[in-house]
């Protein structure tokens, strides 16, 4: 925050004159004290002449002046910063930069229904400051969180307006609902894409049960608390931040060009089928299309934020607006978001306070065509993408749609209006007691218009007649998704300190309701003119509407006690009772207790004389956490209605069919909560006068009765052949370490470097009924098999042990039908044939280690920040390569596969000969998923104040930033960061299939230039 108060600086100046006259025998030393990272002036820093009682503090602009002997040493101390001693050495100006101590013991963290000082915590909570997030040109705060907190894995996508996947301490559930709970100013949500990063004050990550259990029913995946900024009385501050840049694809996969493609397919076909050339010279038109080139663009990204804040003793305000533009890398893809936030606080009487924190978001998305990426991967390079205004006819050649045409012939727009806010009344009837009632609201309205233009497979659209890519009737689809939820919290907090005992007791109840209404309307033959895009403009009888909805309620009671003795011994105990309408009456309620203990060893008297530790604290906790994050009412058997069958005569005389029903959905009426119990032991420490600080945590999390969709035999007749039931136990054990070193060299160089690393071991301990879970298939083969004793989504495959080089090898093998160049699979059971019994486990996507490295460095007015993130030990199944053979045989291949394929002239043991059909699922497709990525690199320069003062600008910083600058990985796909697959995978299987990479959305990098201005 940049601020200026002219009044105060004049006063200080007068003071300075006065002191100067009064103590003429000493010299006057003056200067400005600023923060190392954001260069903001620090008010209230105490300045002391060493060995005396002479001292002062800095004013609101961070200035000080003090009279001291010319050889004096000045001591600068400030809460939350590392103290510095600087000898004056006859200088009259000492501008000091202070570095914040990473171990900010007095830092206040948000703990859910309250706050606590970090030194009093018994649980594992990590806090990230808003400034650190706002620095990065990303839409969602969680994207910027990557690498900053040990044990938090963030997986973001290159597509604009996509929610990043967040995994806290591993995946604790097999179902879709593995994302943490977000609490934005008290409002529960699972989507924070509406929150402007510039409005965020802090993000607190509740990692262990002691911290999270107060959110009982939804805390099993961890809780992320987002607190937005408020105004401060007395200061009127205006800030303006802006950046502009572009986003481009990186790590593109090279696909084969026309020659390579033709050669590969013809060679493959010699081994198969009729043996003739698949691609004959007559099919070659001279085109050599790079389909990714054809559909990609460089996207513009920009964001601007303007905020006003301030207030009086009676009321404070924080008003902020933001405008974000994010063009994707696919032609036509664009997202814009306008945000407005008003956070006010009114002190009505001494005892009564009212506050509101409201945000409004307006988003507009021109959607990307996701199948265009898949089709760009598949489309043959020998077909032109577009010549003049005519498109190459890929479907005529090989049944893949021309992706460029698919993009050009649709117009999809989604509009979102969302209001999220919280109104609270705080009443303090007596000293120490706060009664709080708050109502949170989340109103979210989404309207999408998807229009498909009419085009025929004729010569007005295509270069060649025919094929099956066409849209004979224009289509219009209107979607309206209305979401409404409210949450009402009533809490009482009582704080009391009696001598060395301090207590905080919390009790409360909450009620929560959610309702949604989704309407989809379709029509055909709506004219292409945008003004007519209404369902009624379609041809008669072509309209249809479908309408569905959802509703669920929750009700909870909670209590917590924090007890501390002499700042040494700490206890936190919490209890929450949760009821949810999502389960049947018998299994509706569950109870979530937790206990945490802490010992501030460094506060013990026996530690008083030691110089090694500046801080040392031991923590331990246990708690139960729940997860009801599944669709509503799955325990109730419902009927499939409107199943038609025609009776009664000739087709042309038919009226309506008879509508039947089916009772086919198999359900588990005993469905109940997923309950996670978690142990955590932690050590917080700081050495060398807080220069080196860190935290170690060990945790052991176990989810009992994990909900899973169990694949069931077809004989039950279930339409999707699976049933949701509590049939698994999943455990995550891990170790987290984070270290921060902060120091400065001389006056000009300041630096801070922080690293964190987390190890997690994911394991399925028990599957009821002993039935392993099979992941989705590629072609004929289920790729993953999740079973007892292994991590979720383990690959279950044949093992590739080489490539047949000659007939002799084949004769000696279990693959008598093979030919030279084929993959040799291990005949695991030695029965002389290769089949499913030869499959074994070969790792999973779950990384063994995740790590981050963050640093900042400043030299005079220049600053540099960087953040790395990496994972180690995960494996990826390159599904795109594997799926090729199951699609049309004319699909393109990756250039490296075509180039390195086995031929008699290029014998090798890596890439098999040219093939057309699907290869069995084997380790041939498994690759290392390790990567190290430079998430963000920012270089900034703060303009000298002398220049700015004339323009009445308090401070001005310009910066260059690069997001996702490079990724070091051996993975050959688009990105080793896999969001659950865009194509194919069903949502509920996302965790089983996460490592199977079918995603063809290229990852992106962003370069941007920006300014921060404070008035």
């Amino acid at each position: 925050m940049k601020r200026v108060s002219t009044k105060l600086s004049v006063l200080t100046f007068l003071c300075f004159l006065f002191t100067n006259v009064a103590m003429a025998q000493d010299i006057t030393i003056k200067g400005v004290i600023t923060d190392v990272t954001d260069k903001s002036p620090l008010p209230g820093v105490s300045v002391l002449v060493k060995g005396t009682k002479t001292g002062t503090t800095t004013d609101a602009t961070g200035r000080y002046a003090i009279s001291a002997p010319a050889n004096a040493t000045l001591i600068f101390t400030y809460i939350g910063y590392i103290a510095r001693e600087v000898p004056a050495n006859n200088q009259t100006t000492l501008n000091i930069v202070l570095t914040s101590s990473s171990q900010e013991l007095d830092q206040v963290v948000v703990v859910g229904y309250g706050t606590q000082k970090k030194k009093d915590l018994t649980g594992a909570i990590a806090q990230v400051k808003g400034e650190e997030l706002a620095r990065q040109p990303v839409q969602t705060a969680t994207q910027a969180l990557q690498g900053k907190v040990a044990g938090v894995q963030i997986i973001s996508s290159g597509e604009p307006n996509t929610s990043p996947i967040v995994r806290l301490r591993g995946t604790g559930t097999l179902l879709g609902g593995a994302n943490p709970l977000y609490v934005v100013d008290g409002v529960f949500t699972d989507d924070i894409r509406n929150i402007n990063n510039a409005d965020i004050l802090t993000v607190d990550v509740l990692k262990d049960a002691s911290a999270a259990a107060i959110y009982g029913m939804r805390a099993a995946n961890g809780v992320i608390l987002i607190t937005t900024k408020k105004g401060k009385s007395g200061e009127n501050v205006v800030t303006y931040d802006a950046n502009i840049g572009f986003r481009e694809a990186n790590n593109l996969v090279n696909m084969a060009g026309a020659n390579q493609y033709t050669g590969y397919l013809n060679e493959a076909n010699k081994y198969y089928l009729t043996g003739v050339d698949l691609i004959t010279p007559s099919m070659l038109t001279g085109a050599n299309t790079d389909w990714y080139d054809a559909i990609l663009q460089k996207g513009l990204t920009s964001s601007q934020n303007l905020s006003l804040s301030g207030g009086s003793e009676k009321a404070t305000y924080f008003i902020s607006t933001g405008l974000l533009t994010d063009e994707g890398i696919q032609k036509g893809n664009k997202y814009t978001r306008f945000t407005l936030r008003i956070n006010n606080e009114y002190t009505l009487t001494k005892k009564l306070k009212f506050s509101n924190m409201i945000s409004y978001t307006n988003g507009k998305a021109k959607g990307a065509q996701l199948d265009a990426f898949t089709n760009a991967y598949r489309a043959a390079p020998i077909i032109a993408s577009k010549v003049g205004d005519k498109y190459g006819n890929t479907s005529l050649f090989g049944n893949v749609s021309n992706p460029l045409l698919s993009i050009d012939k649709v117009d999809n727009t989604a509009l979102q209006n969302r209001i999220q806010g919280n109104f609270a009344l705080d009443y303090k009837p007596i000293e120490g007691l706060t009664l709080r009632s708050s109502i949170g609201l989340d109103l979210n309205y989404l309207k999408s218009t998807d229009y498909g233009f009419k085009y025929l497979p004729d010569l007005s659209t295509f270069l060649q007649l025919g094929g099956n890519q066409s849209r004979p009737n224009s289509t219009l689809k209107l979607t309206k998704n209305d979401r409404m939820s409210w949450i009402w919290d009533n809490t009482a907090t009582y704080t009391k300190t009696i001598e060395k005992h301090s207590f905080t007791v919390l009790a409360g109840m909450t009620a929560e309701a959610f309702q949604s209404n989704d309407m989809i309307g379709d029509a055909r033959d709506v004219p292409a003119n945008k003004d007519q895009w209404f369902l009624s403009a379609g041809s008669g009888g072509s309209q249809s509407v479908s309408n569905t909805g959802d509703k669920y309620n929750r009700n909870s009671y909670l209590a917590r006690i924090n007890y501390g003795y002499d700042n040494k011994y700490l206890l936190t105990a919490s209890y929450r009772a949760d009821g949810t309408s999502k389960f049947g009456a018998n299994s509706r309620w569950d109870y979530f207790p937790s206990i945490g203990l802490g010992w501030n060893i460094s506060n013990e008297s026996f530690m008083a004389d030691q110089k090694i530790f500046s801080n040392l604290k031991l923590r331990g906790s246990y708690g139960r956490l729940g997860n009801d994050n599944i669709p509503s009412s799955l325990y109730i058997s419902t009927a499939a209605i409107n199943k038609p069958y025609y009776y009664g005569g000739k087709l042309d005389q038919l009226g309506s069919p008879v509508l039947g029903i089916r009772l086919e959905d198999i359900i588990d009426d005993q469905l109940r909560w997923e309950v996670t119990s978690e142990y955590d032991a932690g050590l917080d420490f700081a050495f060398l006068n807080n220069r080196l600080s860190g935290t170690i945590d060990y945790y052991n999390k176990k989810t009992n009765n994990a909900l899973i969709f169990v694949n069931i035999p077809a004989i039950l007749g279930d339409p999707d052949e699976k049933v949701l039931t509590n049939a698994a136990t999943v455990s995550n054990k891990g170790l987290e370490l984070s270290l921060t070193w902060t120091d400065q060299i001389g006056e000009d160089w300041k630096y801070s470097i922080g690293g964190n690393i987390a190890h997690n071991k994911n394991n399925i301990n028990k599957l009821n009924g002993g039935q392993p879970l099979l992941g989705d298939k590629i072609g004929n083969y289920a790729i993953t098999k999740s079973d007892n004793g292994g991590p979720i989504g383990s690959y279950f495959l044949l093992e590739k042990i080489g490539i047949f080089q000659n007939q002799a090898q084949i004769d000696a093998s279990a693959q008598k039908d093979a030919r030279a160049g084929d993959i040799i699979y291990r005949d695991l059971n030695g029965d002389g044939k290769i089949d499913d019994n030869d499959r074994a486990y070969f790792g999973s996507y779950q990384p063994k280690y995740t790590y981050g490295l963050n640093g900042s460095l400043s030299y005079k007015s220049f600053d540099l920040n960087f953040g790395f993130f990496g994972t180690q030990g995960g494996k990826i199944y390159n599904g795109k390569k594997a799926i090729r053979g199951t699609n049309q045989l004319t699909d393109n291949i990756e250039a490296s596969v075509a180039r390195d394929r086995w031929t008699p002239n290029n014998p090798n043991n890596n890439v098999p000969r040219a093939t057309i059909g699907a290869l069995p699922a084997s380790t041939y497709f498994v690759e290392k998923g390790d990567y190290l990525r430079l998430n963000n690199l920012t270089v900034g320069y703060t303009l000298p104040k002398t220049l700015l003062n004339k323009a009445r600008i308090a401070n001005l910083r310009v910066f260059l930033t690069a997001q996702n600058l490079f990724t070091i990985t051996s993975y050959t796909g688009f990105t080793p960061e896999l969001q659950p697959s865009i194509t194919g995978a069903k949502e509920e299987n996302a965790n089983l299939n996460q490592g199977v990479d079918l995603n063809s959305y290229p990852s992106t990098r962003t370069f941007a230039f920006g300014v921060n201005v404070g008035f």
Binding site: P429, G466, N490, M509, S633, L651, R662, A714, D718
Partner: protein
């Protein structure tokens, strides 16, 4: 001070109690926009609707639709995979060449869809058992459900041999019992089929009788299917008697062979059981869906290529007719004798010198604009002159094409074959079939003659492969056309690996 404290505390407690007292209703939220099973069964027509729901399964591609066609026709000597060489044709490429494996998806699709049908028939039967509706209606509905179950089991047993026997509705927990996870023997499955059909014969009304509704399973349908089942069991007397019983009812051969497979032939005098389709549109989350058709049944065997846009009677049709799969083989085309009207009724012949005009005026361009030399005429559904898809003329996926499951000509041939075995009159029924085909004289009615007639009469109607296996001709016939059929292996297809995995290996594999 204290007063305020107490008041506030009391208010808080009061509000907590208030919410707590109404928590029961607050947390009782019924499913939104869905009919629960309980609500569905309150409906007095529930039993009838459940049987309709069971019939609805006959639209699935894996019951009587295109997957059955791939298994029974493409595998056989009658038909080739078709389309372009790079098209795998719903796995037809593997079945045509005998390179399929237990993992070839079509087997799982077929297994799944048939058990969907069987399970919904079972569910309907379990509700009917407890139902208090009129006994006559109850027994008729039970007869229909059992007919559907028998029909699906018959296709299952012919495809896989013994399969899981399921005639009840096991709970989710019971389903894991060995009883439901292991294969019953082929004979046990046949026992289920014959029991079901005997029940249907006893309880279904005959065609035209009181209570009979066109399109529903009738006594005649059950008898016709049972006579065919007996043929597979070599119960010649049974087959003879049952076919005779059908012949005594209101069925006859349609005068024009080609008309049987067009809309004019829907539910005609020759029809005994067919899948009844229509242009009904269901409103789903993804728009209108044609839910009363066998998806892609006509489309997948429609002529393929680069076709010009055609306008007939003011209606514009764009592009080709389908995927061009399941094309009649040259061997089949050559099997017809001169003068056999069935050849032109079964096969669309294309030409590399001239266009081909279909019965409705549709013009197929010459090769290579049209890809294959022959197409299945029986699968053709006119875009111009027959009922359109619920999504309009240019939606090829959802043409309402009825699938002829069993018709009177086959009953005559069953009767002839059974008669030949038991020394009864085979000549008359055989001659009746041949006469319509254009042959006025029939001089011989040997088993071989009847088999040959079956092939030509029923070509491309998803029967040939099973018939070759039944008659023991499979190896000889297939090998003669270059198909590597191995006796003792290829008579049945592999049990889908996925289902074997789900059974924990308790489902045994055939010889694969």
């Amino acid at each position: 001070m204290k007063k305020i404290f107490y008041i506030t505390t009391l208010t808080l407690i009061a509000s907590v109690v208030l919410i707590a007292s109404c928590k029961r209703s607050f947390l009782d939220v019924p499913p939104q926009g869905k009919t629960t099973e309980q609500q569905a069964l309150i409906d007095p027509d529930a039993a009838d609707k459940l049987v309709v729901g069971a019939y609805n399964n006959l639209y699935l591609p894996g019951t009587l639709g295109l997957k059955l066609v791939v298994i029974a026709d493409v595998t056989s000597d009658d038909s080739d995979k078709g389309s372009v060489s790079t098209d795998n044709g719903f796995d037809g490429i593997f079945l045509d060449n005998f390179t399929y494996t237990p993992n070839t998806p079509i087997f799982n699709d077929f297994w799944v869809d048939n058990y969907k049908g069987i399970a919904s028939a079972n569910k309907a039967l379990s509700v009917l058992e407890k139902s208090t509706i009129d006994v006559g209606i109850r027994d008729r509905l039970s007869g229909e459900a059992r007919f559907i179950r028998a029909l699906l089991y018959f296709n299952m047993v012919r495809t896989f041999g013994g399969v899981v026997k399921l005639t009840t509705v096991p709970t989710f927990a019971q389903a894991n019992n060995d009883e439901f996870q292991t294969r019953a023997s082929k004979d046990e499955i046949y026992k289920v089929i014959t029991d079901d059909l005997l029940y249907s014969v006893a309880n279904l009304p005959a065609k035209g009788a009181a209570g009979a509704i066109v399109g529903r399973a009738s006594k005649g349908a059950a008898q016709a299917l049972l006579s065919k089942v007996y043929l597979y069991q070599q119960n010649w007397q049974g087959a003879y008697d049952m076919s005779k019983a059908v012949m005594q009812q209101d069925y006859d051969l349609a005068p024009v062979y080609a008309d049987i497979f067009r809309e004019v032939g829907v539910n005609n005098i020759e029809s005994i059981f067919e899948v009844q389709t229509g242009p009904y549109a269901n409103q789903t989350a993804s728009g209108l869906a044609c839910d009363a058709v066998s998806k892609n049944y006509s489309n997948f065997q429609g002529p393929r290529g680069s076709f010009p846009t055609q306008v007939i009677g003011g209606q514009t049709y764009i592009g080709d007719l389908g995927f061009g799969l399941n094309t009649p083989s040259a061997n089949l085309a050559d099997a017809y004798q001169p003068g056999d009207v069935r050849k032109a009724g079964t096969i669309i012949f294309t030409s590399d010198v001239a266009t081909t005009t279909l019965w409705d005026g549709f013009i197929i361009p010459k090769r290579p604009d049209v890809v294959n030399e022959r197409y299945n005429y029986k699968g053709y559904h006119s875009p111009f002159l027959e009922t359109k898809s619920c999504l309009g003329i240019n939606d090829k996926d959802s043409k309402p094409k009825n699938i002829r499951v069993i018709r009177f000509a086959e009953v005559l041939l069953i009767n002839a074959e059974a008669a030949a075995h038991i020394g009864q009159d085979a000549m008359t029924p055989l001659a009746r079939v041949r006469k319509r085909a254009g042959f006025t004289t029939t001089t011989s009615a040997t088993i071989a003659d009847i088999w040959k007639e079956r092939r030509l009469e029923l070509a491309m109607e998803a029967d040939r492969f099973f018939d070759l296996v039944r008659t023991g001709q499979a190896a000889a016939v297939m090998n003669a056309v270059g198909k590597p059929f191995v006796t003792g292996k290829h008579e049945v297809f592999p049990i889908p690996q996925k289902q074997r995995d789900l059974s924990g290996g308790r489902l045994t594999q055939n010889n694969y």
